[in-house]
């Protein structure tokens, strides 16, 4: 089976903010070794040379005054890109220990950026950023998440959120201390409990094996504060390409007020055979 990946991303300053502190990235990592013809089964040379490549998708929402928030989100993405560029070509996903090693290195990369931001700007008082990252080495999607940007997966008509917001409101809801309405009304409810460069960092990692036909959505909170989960699911169900989906979603966030920077990536997988 040959899998085709259709991905598109877009960011917009919105209608209220003066600058855009969001950043996003879509990367396809390709092998330098390509087997053009062989009598060997595909999985045999995949084993020999490593996987045929991977895709990296990242959204990050910078927090902090002026250009510093933009720098925080940008620096984080650049560090991840450096790591993935060096590593993914040699990575073979078929072992638990390699899964763990990959996660540990990704986490280390995130923590290294965190420490650098703290050292440069002081203990949690300077710029910070959220991060939602999916590294797709078919069929496995590795997810690293910090803050309140989100990842969703749509499979067989059902949309599910892969990540949980790391906010004070979400924490209080999870403990049963607040209702969702209380969290939405409360100003501290939106405070991040984990951020790269913030006073606390608790990266969450996970994975999901993707199937042909699945779609993945990554977004910053500039989308989800204006567009409901139901509407996100409707748009991802439309029989169109990722670019049109992304433009529709960003357009709806802006039409609903555009109170924050908004960044959206949609990834669609299909069987191209």
């Amino acid at each position: 089976m040959t899998i085709a990946i259709d991905a598109f991303g877009l960011t917009d300053t919105g209608k209220v903010r003066k600058s855009n502190q969001d950043n996003f990235l879509i990367v396809e990592v390709r092998k330098s070794v390509e087997v053009h013809h062989s009598s060997l089964a595909n999985d045999l040379y995949a084993e020999r040379f490593g996987v045929s490549g991977g895709h990296l998708f990242v959204v990050a929402d910078g927090v902090g005054g002026g250009p510093q928030g933009d720098r925080a989100s940008g620096d984080t993405i650049k560090a991840l890109l450096d790591y993935v560029g060096e590593t993914v070509g040699c990575f073979n996903a078929a072992s638990a220990s390699k899964d763990h090693a990959l996660f540990e290195r990704l986490e280390e990369t995130v923590r290294a950026v965190h420490v650098k931001l703290i050292e440069t700007h002081g203990g949690g008082q300077g710029p910070a950023t959220t991060l939602t990252m999916v590294l797709l080495i078919w069929p496995r999607a590795y997810v690293v998440h910090v803050g309140d940007s989100r990842a969703y997966v749509r499979r067989a008509g059902k949309m599910q959120q892969l990540t949980r917001d790391q906010t004070f409101g979400e924490y209080m809801i999870s403990l049963g201390a607040w209702t969702e309405e209380q969290a939405a009304r409360s100003t501290p409810g939106a405070t991040l409990t984990s951020a790269i460069g913030g006073s606390q960092l608790e990266p969450v990692v996970g994975l999901i094996d993707i199937e042909a036909g699945d779609s993945i959505l990554l977004c910053t909170d500039g989308l989800t504060k204006h567009v409901s989960d139901e509407r996100l699911a409707d748009v991802l169900a439309e029989p169109t390409d990722s670019e049109r989906m992304v433009r529709t979603l960003v357009g709806e966030a802006l039409a609903a007020g555009g109170t924050d920077n908004v960044s959206v990536i949609v990834v669609r997988s299909s069987d191209s055979a």
């Binding site: 638990a96 996660f103 094996d209």
Partner: protein, 170 residues
């Protein structure tokens, strides 16, 4: 530091994520959130003189579905099968899941956690039921993700067994 992959397996809503949260973070999340795919946590424990890093793979549970994505459990050193003692059918389901896992990756150290023992009024298993379970050749332990009862012991027992199984224990 040696590393052991431990998988949390069971049908929907049995408390797999809550058990991990209680073990790793000592918290109980009252609100139910479905796990999608696999969430991975880690905790370092001692097994005898050895330092062991448990990599805890919390697998999504699907309602009434008794198979497990074999690529998620591949390479596991131990499995915690989680059943909900207030839903007797989840105990039967966990044995079906266990058979599927064994046919996929072989028989690795495992334990069945009968979770939610704090819900005494809703508990559906009689002492005879639990005795019968224990006679099936698998360790059965009672846990409460809410109060923490039995949680530490369950993970520690499995860590020790996983170490012993590979001849790394003392």
């Amino acid at each position: 530091m040696i590393q052991k992959k431990i998988c949390m397996v069971g049908v929907f809503g049995t408390g797999k994520t809550c058990l991990v949260q209680q073990f790793v973070h000592s918290i109980f999340a009252a609100r139910y959130l479905t796990t999608v795919g696999v969430k991975i946590d880690r905790k370092d424990v001692k097994s005898g003189d050895l330092d062991v890093r448990l990599m805890l793979w919390d697998l999504e549970g699907r309602d009434g579905i008794r198979d497990v994505n074999s690529s998620y459990v591949r390479g596991a050193h131990g499995i915690i099968y989680v059943a909900d003692g207030t839903r007797k059918e989840t105990v039967d389901q966990v044995f079906d899941i266990r058979n599927n896992v064994i046919s996929s990756i072989g028989d690795v150290p495992s334990v069945i956690a009968l979770n939610k023992i704090d819900l005494t009024g809703d508990w559906k298993l009689t002492p005879d039921d639990e005795t019968a379970l224990a006679s099936k050749g698998v360790n059965v332990l009672r846990t409460s993700a809410r109060t923490g009862e039995g949680v530490e012991h369950t993970f520690q027992w499995l860590a020790d067994e996983a170490v012993k199984a590979e001849g790394q224990g003392t």
